[in-house]
């Protein structure tokens, strides 16, 4: 369980969060999304203990211990590591910092990462897998992933996601992902949180979101619903509507299409740029 209460945080004069609240239950896979710069990475860093709140607190379940970072696996969007160290030195440092007896390096060997290579010499894919291996070795209760899944190739991405599925199947792992691209992760996610101006604009399960956001193609705007955004074409317009319910089907005078998560989030974000 992650409990964020009354969180306030600023970067100098720029206020990012003011009195922000969010509660994530154990075992949930939560997606945090929003436009660039809205504070998603900042929120993740605050959860990881890398940044400290100005006001308010982020509390974790008591079983994480007095320093929850011991059981939090955090992969930053810059894949932050000591770049001048070799892979084996980096592993040794990680082990001693967390007090781990050993690190399972099966994945590292599988992706042909040499233990004598310096971290900065690794490709992004290799570095991501190294980071993943380091993080998995703590047997984390909470896994925070910032935006790195789509910078790696499809094969490594599948390996990465399979690791997460394995962990989810084995234990009550809470996952918080920050993404702007949902292509492969849509079916892992249970809850979608959209941030807008430092607040939660949307907080729904993915199934509910898919039921409530539809695209209506017609010549005129559907007036009984809230239109998030629209795309105009020569002879018709696409209206993205929310919240939709089944009772409205047939009354909207247009073609109603289901949307995938990318289209749904675009619809919400598109409204911001209008």
């Amino acid at each position: 369980m992650i409990d964020i209460a009354g969180l306030s945080f600023s970067y100098g004069k720029t206020r990012v969060f003011k009195d922000f609240n969010l509660s994530i239950p154990d075992g949930q896979v939560c997606l945090i999304t929003g436009i660039n710069g809205v504070g998603k990475s900042t929120l993740l860093r605050l959860m990881a203990g890398v940044l400290r709140p100005d006001k308010g607190a982020i509390r974790f379940d008591a079983r994480l211990g007095p320093d929850p970072r011991r059981k939090i696996g955090f992969i930053s969007d810059s894949l932050s590591l000591y770049e001048s160290l070799t892979v084996s030195e980096a592993i040794a440092l990680h082990k001693s910092a967390y007090g781990l007896p050993a690190i399972d390096d099966a994945l590292i060997r599988h992706t042909k990462i040499g233990s004598g290579q310096k971290v900065r010499e690794l490709s992004i894919g290799q570095r991501t897998i190294l980071h993943l291996e380091l993080v998995l070795s703590l047997a984390p209760e909470v896994f925070l992933i910032d935006e790195i899944i789509h910078s790696i190739d499809a094969y490594l991405r599948r390996i990465f996601l399979e690791q997460i599925v394995q962990l989810l199947a084995k234990r009550r792992l809470t996952v918080v992902m920050v993404n702007v691209n949902f292509h492969d992760i849509e079916h892992l996610v249970e809850r979608v949180i959209l941030l807008k101006s430092g607040e939660i604009a949307v907080d729904e399960t993915i199934d509910a979101l898919k039921a409530k956001v539809k695209k209506v193609s017609s010549r005129s705007a559907p007036d009984s619903l809230y239109v998030l955004s629209r795309i105009d074409y020569e002879d018709h317009s696409d209206f993205f509507v929310y919240p939709f319910h089944e009772g409205l089907r047939g009354t909207l005078g247009g073609e109603i299409r289901d949307l995938n998560l990318t289209e749904i989030v675009s619809a919400f974000i598109g409204g911001e740029y209008a």
């Binding site: 399979e162 599925v165 079916h187 892992l188 199934d207 898919k210 073609e255 949307l259 995938n260 289209e263």
Partner: protein
């Protein structure tokens, strides 16, 4: 445990608003009702299924639970999930699934603006073609 059936093809349509668990459930039901998986055969474990589809294990838990409640599968503790084919329910379930597929089709056709009459005509035409053997699944008609 005996070997699980691993060759069941399930594709989840991300664009559909039908929840992932529902799609997986239907695919498995279809496989069972069409005889593709036979009575007594073992399904993949929750974890294997979640890994194969790269979906949240909770989704598979839901699928298996519902399939068990609806009587399609039963679980042997420590030994996995097995297909049960209740001959008496077989016909009814098949009919229900048929109804679901048809309702799906009708609602999508309605959205496109086609009337019931249009649908009957088109169905008659295509059904005729399939009876003659000239229509295959997925093939565009002329």
């Amino acid at each position: 445990m005996n070997k699980a059936r691993e060759d069941i093809q399930i594709r989840i349509d991300a664009k559909s608003a039908v929840p992932a668990y529902e799609q997986i459930k239907r695919a498995l039901k279809l496989a069972i009702l069409s005889g593709h998986i036979r009575e007594g055969e073992r399904l993949m474990t929750l974890r294997e299924m979640a890994l194969k589809l790269v979906v949240n294990p909770n989704t598979i838990i839901k699928v298996y639970e519902q399939l068990e409640n609806e009587g399609f599968i039963y679980s042997r503790p420590g030994a996995g999930y097995y297909v049960r084919l209740d001959r008496s329910k077989f016909g009814r379930e098949r009919h229900e699934l048929f109804g679901e597929i048809t309702r799906d089709y009708i609602s999508r056709a309605l959205d496109l603006g086609y009337s019931g009459e249009d649908m009957l005509q088109e169905l008659a035409r295509l059904a005729g073609m399939s009876l003659r053997g000239t229509l295959r699944k997925g093939q565009p008609d002329d």
